[in-house]
Symmetry: C2
Subunit: 354 residues, 2 copies
């Protein structure tokens, strides 16, 4: 039976992941209803404001009379809150389902055991912690945000075969962007942006590349765009990113004024990573992908404020330039995107901002 | 200047109240922008998901160049959260406004001083606590929910001239509903329902009146409908309330099953008020109006779990019947609805559920 539990929970995780990037500020959740070993209903949460996974799964069952002898699997603890629809815990109870198998608890303040308590209070048999690690990994942004009180931080860069993140950069040079990676990697990066709530670059990246930081090569929502510019002296690059959207500029110059951008004053650049993480947490932003350059990445690495690094390896040799950041961590294996030209490194000692 | 501050804050409160009942789970908020003593912009929060008061007020200003020498008044501390739009604190900062006058702090966990801190951090002059009592009264449901961790509880009943809430009631009698009040009062009650998130009645009311508990004589949202039925024996009155909607039935009979209704099991009827308040808090419901009968009202009065009682006085004498509840509290004066036939009593010793 344990093997079956894992099998059905895997399906919940698979379903949940279909909405990756669309559910903020809600977590991704998938649910499967099983009767005598056969899946009779499935659902996942599409986006905030839309029905939750459990409701969709229950409503997808044709013969409701067999619900009392069915098992509901769900990757995250059911909620106990009235939104536009009744709480999922209540819906499960009133559907007649008597057995609920949960991937992991919802540790956010609004749920945090209340859903399980309500199910048990109504006489449901509840088992929690099936494929728990995988279910927590699925919503690692959500859990980091609620438990560590800061966003989940992903670092991203591309480096040359000899370990340089960029050629020597001078502000006055008229050099073209130097692409270490190709079109396939760009599409992948756009997919990543669609999965995170915010993207951060330094002023140097604005000056050198003036990127759009959108998801144009992938379906999804554009992330909130953040710039770290100690001097605040990037007004000449207006409009930032060339496209409309929310921009936030972190700067030590409180009098800076950049069109369509919110200016957030920092006392010093040294603690920029802490200040940015705090600002994002207080703003309800659950994740950020830091796309460089080396100096910005360095701020986060120095403070231990990162969870995941995604590194592309190019074939060119630069000979000299700006060295790529050095980090310590565990290589992620088994991820479908990891390849000879890309690695994901997990920070096992990631820090809180406090 | 103080008199002017109060004048402009009163206007904020007036604006905020226009959205009464529509903003859940958000509070009501109004904002006014003043330049050299003249109002140049106004706004209020219409409903959750729509722009906040400050954004509407800022966008209503024609000549944005005078914003840096203008004052923004707002009845509640500006938020610091990204939703569909940037945080209000950021919008105020980037608008150039340098002085912000706030009615009262937002004590909910997501704001709780963060908005004021962000404004001050950006160099804004901030004054909080203007017309504070009135601003807290405006959002008494919101503050009770977040601070006392239970919904705001309003009791409502009508009593005869000789103090009876109802004639003797027998379940088998075929008596008609006995209206103590008339059409004007019914419209007022529908307005009240539109202002609260939930309405509660006892099984006796279902049996005697089978009410709809909707807001059909007033514009607004129907409240969530709650029934307290110790025995759970009201299935014969299906469909409850004759109209579609969410129903929650609190009962000691866990095996009860009532169409379109969520069943919440209670261990005992004695602590029904505590159980209902807890359930509503855990479900994110910020307010409830308890419309009787006498037994249900009694549960809340006995536990001190009520904030406000609204009592209609009829002209008829019943001679005998069910006595109206006895309560102690402060009569609300100056309320436009208080009249010779209606009183509002405030509980100055209202209890937490815990």
């Amino acid at each position: 039976m344990m093997a079956d539990d894992a099998k059905f929970m895997k399906r919940c995780i698979e379903l949940a992941g279909k909405a990756s990037g669309f559910t903020y500020p809600n977590p991704m959740v998938g649910s499967v209803i099983v009767h005598e070993g056969i899946v009779i209903g499935e659902g996942y949460h599409l986006k905030a404001g839309e029905p939750h996974a459990e409701e969709i799964a229950i409503n997808s069952v044709t013969d409701r009379s067999i619900l009392p002898s069915s098992v509901l699997y769900v990757s995250l603890e059911p909620c106990s809150h009235f939104g536009r629809r009744p709480p999922c815990a209540d819906l499960i109870i009133s559907s007649g389902i008597k057995k609920v198998i949960i991937g992991t608890m919802d540790t956010s303040i609004n749920v945090s055991g209340k859903g399980i308590a309500r199910l048990k209070g109504a006489g449901c048999e509840v088992k929690s912690g099936v494929m728990e690690q995988e279910c927590r990994w699925l919503n690692r942004r959500f859990f980091t945000f609620h438990e560590k009180k800061r966003p989940y931080i992903i670092l991203k860069w591309a480096q040359s075969a000899d370990g340089y993140i960029d050629m020597e950069r001078s502000r006055d040079s008229e050099r073209k962007p130097n692409w270490i990676t190709g079109k396939a990697e760009r599409i992948l990066v756009h997919k990543w942006r669609a999965e995170e709530q915010a993207v951060l670059v330094g002023a140097g990246t604005i000056r050198a590349d003036n990127p759009e930081l959108t998801v144009r090569d992938w379906g999804g929502n554009n992330p909130l765009r953040l710039v770290l510019s100690g001097s605040g002296n990037i007004g000449e690059y207006e409009p930032l990113f060339r496209t409309k959207g929310h921009n936030v500029v972190f700067t030590c110059d409180g009098s800076a004024h950049i069109k369509d951008s919110v200016i957030v004053k920092m006392n010093d650049e040294e603690n920029a990573a802490i200040r940015i993480a705090e600002y994002l947490y207080n703003s309800g932003i659950q994740s950020v992908i830091v796309e460089g350059g080396a100096e910005v990445l360095g701020h986060f690495i120095l403070k231990g404020l990162w969870d995941e690094a995604r590194i592309f390896y190019g074939c060119d040799f630069f000979g000299k330039g700006i060295s790529s950041p050095e980090i310590r961590g565990k290589f992620l294996t088994g991820d479908k995107f990891t390849s000879s030209t890309m690695n994901v490194i997990i920070n096992e000692e990631s820090q809180n901002t406090g």
